[in-house]
Symmetry: C2
Subunit: 717 residues, 2 copies
Amino acid sequence: MIKGGRLTIPTDLDMIKETLALKEELDADAIRDCDGTIMPDELLESNGKIYATYYTTRKDNEWAEANPEEVQQEYLITDRYTARNTTLEIKLMHGFHTQQLKVNEIDDPKEWWEVIDRTTGEIVPTDKWNYVSETGCVVIETIKYHEYTVSFLAFLIWDPVHMYNFITNDWKDAPHQCTFDVRQPKTQAHVKEKLRQFCIDNPHIDVIRFTTFFHQFTLTFDDQKREKYVEWFGYSASVSPYILRQFEKWAGYKFRPEFIVDQGYHNSIFRIPSKEFRDFIEFQQIEVSKLAKELVDIVHSYGKEAMMFLGDHWIGTEPFGKHFENIGLDAVVGSVGNGVTMRMISDIKGVKYTEGRFLPYFFPDVFNENGDPIKEANENWLQARRAMLRSPLDRIGYGGYLKLAVEWPGFIDTIKNVISEFRQIHEYTNQTKSYTAPFKVAILNSWGSIRRWMNNQVHHAIWYREIYSYVGVIECLSGMPIDVEFISFDDVRNGIDSDIKVIINAGTQGTSWTGGDNWIDEEIVTKIREFVDLGGGFIGVGEPTSYQHQGRFFQLSDVMGVDKEVGFTLSHDKYNTLNAKHFILEDIEEPVDFGEGMASIYAQGDNYQVLAMDQKYCQLVTNQYGKGRSVYFAGLPYSPQNCRLLLRAIYFAASEENNMKKYFVTNMNTEIAAFPSVNKVVIINNSNNDVKTDLYIEGKVHGTYDLKAMEMKWIEL
Amino acid sequence: MIKGGRLTIPTDLDMIKETLALKEELDADAIRDCDGTIMPDELLESNGKIYATYYTTRKDNEWAEANPEEVQQEYLITDRYTARNTTLEIKLMHGFHTQQLKVNEIDDPKEWWEVIDRTTGEIVPTDKWNYVSETGCVVIETIKYHEYTVSFLAFLIWDPVHMYNFITNDWKDAPHQCTFDVRQPKTQAHVKEKLRQFCIDNPHIDVIRFTTFFHQFTLTFDDQKREKYVEWFGYSASVSPYILRQFEKWAGYKFRPEFIVDQGYHNSIFRIPSKEFRDFIEFQQIEVSKLAKELVDIVHSYGKEAMMFLGDHWIGTEPFGKHFENIGLDAVVGSVGNGVTMRMISDIKGVKYTEGRFLPYFFPDVFNENGDPIKEANENWLQARRAMLRSPLDRIGYGGYLKLAVEWPGFIDTIKNVISEFRQIHEYTNQTKSYTAPFKVAILNSWGSIRRWMNNQVHHAIWYREIYSYVGVIECLSGMPIDVEFISFDDVRNGIDSDIKVIINAGTQGTSWTGGDNWIDEEIVTKIREFVDLGGGFIGVGEPTSYQHQGRFFQLSDVMGVDKEVGFTLSHDKYNTLNAKHFILEDIEEPVDFGEGMASIYAQGDNYQVLAMDQKYCQLVTNQYGKGRSVYFAGLPYSPQNCRLLLRAIYFAASEENNMKKYFVTNMNTEIAAFPSVNKVVIINNSNNDVKTDLYIEGKVHGTYDLKAMEMKWIEL
């Protein structure tokens, strides 16, 4: 008999009986409210925990209106305008929504704004421009046919998430929730007092679920109320002169708007972060964690738990940063879109437990005649389950309108199965760690560990044509029996950890994920060459080590045995020929899917083997480099087959082929997790078909097993 | 009755009767020998001209062997080698063929060679390396895990073209023809004397066809006798200490091997040429044209004509350079692969006549059971004919083994039709110029006019996946009623000519064709912005104006209304929607073929219209910019439909839509050429189907015409 609990369900005013019934049926031990639903008083006394969503920065327009100078701010940059004459007038709010944002006219524009000549990159001196409040325009003395931008501060007069929910749900009469900046002294005192009062007023609430702390990720709307840019990792809305003056003091140099607006790219996570932006993130973490701790302490002082939602106002918390643990949270909860987003939660340290909100949310966008919530629930679980076996969440839960879920035929049975398998993992493994390879794999990029499980993502598990071929790498890894580190170029400079046996660099040129000009730093290339030469492994995906320099586009073309044709070697004959007989391809049943792939890759040097080609170019190449090895992939979208391909590539690159079958299943649609401390292995079928697989233990066939579609089979050793 | 002549046919020892019969049947007025065939003495007295191929730099091994220091040389660069220790031994000839090339041990390595640390780009001081003649190795004091190359001089002991023919035709007993350098004094005197003697010995020869002058384009073989790199435009084999010392004196600075080996790219025409390489080309033109003139003068002094073959040793002649006319040639002959390669010959100034060798050559690689020489001849003519109407060759001809052609059923009839249509053009147009638009179109790239009709080509009309989407632009233009200039960035700096109304920039990033960092030169961008703003047109294809800088990848994104998603704006929402109703698309019948296209292009700004999309990205976009306009194409391979598309795009960009139908045919498979001076127009059907088209004259419908497949119809006005 599997123990119950570890489960949170949503409720609403009109679902009291149903909530209680489902709570019993699913053996849930926590109930929550959501944005848009209300916790019925009748449930407060039920056994199990009660969660309350809590907002620190909004839902108090009275306060915001009384303290306009403490409304939150965002750095904006105008569109680019070309001067057709020697003066140019730029309307700041053109293309933004005046219901969301309002030019900050309180703080001195000449101190906090910047006009930049984008043709030269130079700052236009402040005596050459003026802000005209009446027209909302900046008037600039210009050089003819140069392009200009204005970077300026604006107040966030409508909370971006509230605005999003308002628009998405077509709310009509709800007042726009204004923001306020908890970092500023008056508001800080007010918010703390409100929190104390909330704790006093709500004795039955067990868990305060912060949604979230102080700074919303960047979410800016255009003049038609459409999303203009959404950077889930963005710090653009975490600024104010109050904060920036502190930053200047801390950093020891003058702040520039350009650190935030970043040429208009708003420090997209794909940008190689500047030193100044990294400083700013560090500073914000220090301050945010300090202040968040004060709120958490208040919650604790009333005997309640503090839980953080990984989203909305999560900016500055950085769960994989070095200041997060100081907050003293009891728990983190977040949405699980796939294996990667699950590990973004389950890998967090410094909390007592982690909780994942599974898909689908019980919202009308899926629970309708065109939707298939059962399929979504199953797919979500298939991708999450394999990650769960490597690094389990402590709890799971659902959100949305309970009514929709209970009325959908078969849906409750579907999630019952999910919940049961989830509980099995905890029950059978007894919190022991699953077996992983006797070496670590490192993902190398410009961010390193602070962006654990975030590579090549735009935001939260959304498919983009430009990224799926690279994000597949971490999605595959999220459920593989491999310990993964995320390392930065500085980590390489400081010396590659000796337990790392394989380094992966994946993505497209010029992005933070491949690393740009880090690859012409001789310290980086020599350290990695030495690492591989002495027996390490290197795996490149897409445009690894890319930076055009001294005759090569891939700076580690010698290590990888490949380079990219960028036009300069079209006159060079290439004699690449296919030789697909290789350890890496042994379990592979179908043509390899390289996703968008990377065109024009050719093998070179004396030690390569081409395993897959597209016309005359290469897609999968191995290379011997001294005692070490390299594997190049043109792309690696997530699929069960590509998980197998990557597993084999890793063992090959590490020269550890002989150890791969310590715990191993032959069928590429299956995976195995071993829990040696409890003498158990579990085989999962990641496909929707029934499959048969051999099981290897310690390199020897242990048996053959049939698994039904999606089945999870526990085997006692 | 159309006049005959204007035609050259090949012959051979065993084809005397057949040559004479065919000469009469086709009304040919010249006979030629080829590499591998011999002119029978019996034909020397026949009427019409006799051509003799003539080689200045080979076919005289006795001389070469007696003067080893005057054998031609080539700058080579070794592969890159990574130092795994503090010394490194590089075998110079590794990967080259020792039958083709031999290390130059005569001239001082320390003066003429260069060892480069490719990790840093720095030159390794000469006291840190040594050449060991016994092993053929350079031994270098190295920094661990840096990469090194050696650039060195080698003698060309087997002429590359002779080697190519030898290998291709599987010759067995022919001695390898060594090269000699006509630029050097001893050899120069010898070669001149030989030429005089040849003229004396061959009174019946009318035309000396130089194949060619002094320097072979770069054609280097690997150690398996396979082509290693072939740069049809390459100067690597035009060097020697003798020449380079002259260059240093002329240029006023020290020569470096790097000017030639160019990081291993050998100055591929896709590379943005360095100042030093452009200087070198200029110097070589001056010297080559001077010396070539001396040979031509000798030929003239014997009452013969001098003809140059545009190929083989054409390096340094640069038919579109400013020194070419000084040579005083009577004629240029070259191979016609398509419209572009035809215009590379027919547009040459400073000669009395131009001649095109049509395809197919009468060689067994086409005249065999798997080949279709009739189809090849027709396709070749279809592409050449439209170019011929704009800038006609004076003569055409064929090459190869005559036997193969006369024995192939129907082949002679096929070329009879080609010859007849070619003669019609001369007869009916009476050497008058065909009508062109009342404005010029300029192709802008790093080379400008010296590389007229050579953009985005690897060599001579060969299809590459990487280029066909861009080379299509000039192939379309080669047969369009448009005067085309090829301009460089310096030409823009010096002021755009007032008769230019549309500027085209086409190709991929970082290449000479788009221009690389020229696009962050404020002089360039401001001049072109002004040009368009005041009413000019701009057409971008692929990655025009590309250089990542200050928030944009396309530096003229404001002019074009598009930029490329390189990963930094994935978080920016794009709301591009299709609106395909446009002047440009009016005659278009089929989905537009953008070739490889360019992925991830999005429209931006306030004045664009998207005419074609691929998923959420754009492929064809127009933009209004002040009084001017822009058109962006994701790619433009050659096809009849794309010719029409480009024609319309040009008239649209030039804001000259109302003038397009001065002479116009509606069917996109047809084109028109008008010859106002002789009151004729000709309609050509570029397709293999019968078609019907309306004809417009001066903007009004003049009639409707049926054309058979491939037909050329002359109409008297």
